[in-house]
Symmetry: C2
Subunit: 256 residues, 2 copies
């Protein structure tokens, strides 16, 4: 009887373990293929046949299929009957090594344009006033922009700027120019440093709609407080990048 | 008739516009409150009453409620009857300014422990071989770890290491020690630099289950190729951080 019972329990447990191992293998394979997809490493944007991938990576055909399913769920590849698995998604690299505006960092990839969704003075809420070094309730300029690369929505940016500088932004060409460049023109000095915080969050329904992404889509959220070279904080931003369109790339050093 | 038709159309349009403006306002407020939540800026972890938040930020009570709903959806706050809105989530800052292991960067926040899910030699797939500078199909050590801070799962890490170095990792205390520290001990030289790529992705079902997060949860994905100080690449990693538990923090400079 104990032997019988143990056999009954063992079969489902073994099957669950096989499924788990296959899922682990699929994730590992997907991570490697994803790197090649993003680096545009497949000639003609077509992935090799499942069998060939399986042989190359030493995994079963089912594992390959499961890995491709993961990339498909990320909208990086699609299955085309008669053609195979093709690359349909692309992510653009935002530099992390230097403080740069979006148009500046993506200039090799296309034209960044900005839809100004709203712009005007607001009474600075205390967390904004504190970080920008202005008195609470003082007016600050608040700008919200939907930023696109060649008409493809990339990010939703909310920007707070002290009013003495912001006043000169009101007539500027915000549709086609990075705020960073305008700040350097207006103040006559280069930017200095920026404190940044990066998070991954699920897009709420409204932000998703504005970004034309599915509700709950992963968003790379960047909070950034930028200072002029003389140290004055001049630009507090909350930026939601579409996770399926932007990566952040940089080089870290062990010693400072 | 035209006037009549125009009135018919205008009322729903105006209502839709009000809803949109309120949603924009709620997102802006949520971003400011989120910063205070993450910085532990509310005494006793209790947010002010809705009316007080509304007065402070100059927004309606409905906007405040919608903003708090957004933070609740991110599992940062919860509503407790008779108490109000309380902070229930915390994110831990991973340094971006210096190349650091997880235990090292979080040592002020608690104890990092690692569950080794699998460890062993694998024939290096070509993208791994290429980046680690070994011959294709040469053995490399592959380690998968679930990393936790005081028993709270933070990340799922897949690591590839050349076998000549990896062999000395097989008997090491991987449960309690960063791979970075072990690599420096084994090779007798400090690490040098690492190329990193950060993305936001939705967790697939299996990764989510391992990380004890909901399916589709936003994950901060880090790919990192680390070199020894002599330039040799020794550690290729694919790390999935739970988006609700980790932020990346750094300082960027305008001039290099």
């Amino acid at each position: 009887m104990p032997a019988e019972r143990s056999r009954e329990h063992t079969a489902p447990v073994a099957a669950a373990r096989r499924r788990m191992l296959r899922a682990d293998g699929a994730r590992r394979l997907a991570d490697l293929l994803r790197g090649q997809v993003l680096a545009q490493g497949f000639p003609g944007g077509v992935l090799p046949h499942e069998d060939r991938i399986g042989t190359e990576y030493g995994v079963s055909r089912n594992t390959v299929r499961q890995a491709l399913d993961l990339l498909r769920a990320e909208q990086l590849v699609e299955r085309l009957p008669g053609v195979g698995t093709v690359v349909v998604g692309q992510k653009y690299p935002h530099g992390l090594d230097r403080l740069m505006g979006l148009a500046e960092t993506l200039h090799q990839h296309g034209q960044v344009t900005n839809e100004v969704r709203s712009m005007g003075p607001v009474a600075a809420p205390s967390p904004v006033a504190e970080r920008l070094g202005v008195a609470p309730r003082d007016d600050v300029l608040c700008i919200e922009r939907l930023r696109s690369l060649d008409a493809l929505p990339l990010s939703l940016d909310l920007t707070y700027i002290p009013m003495d500088i912001g006043i000169d932004l009101l007539g500027a060409d915000l549709e086609n120019t990075d705020v960073f460049r305008l700040l350097e023109e207006i103040t006559g000095q280069p930017l200095g440093t920026a404190e940044i915080t990066l998070e991954a969050v699920n897009a709420d329904a409204h932000s998703a709609a504005v970004l034309q992404a599915p509700r709950g889509a992963a968003v790379l959220m960047l909070e950034r407080l930028t200072h002029l070279s003389d140290g004055r904080p001049v630009d507090l931003e909350f930026i939601r990048f579409r996770g399926d369109r932007i990566t952040m790339r940089g080089l870290l050093h062990r010693s400072v």
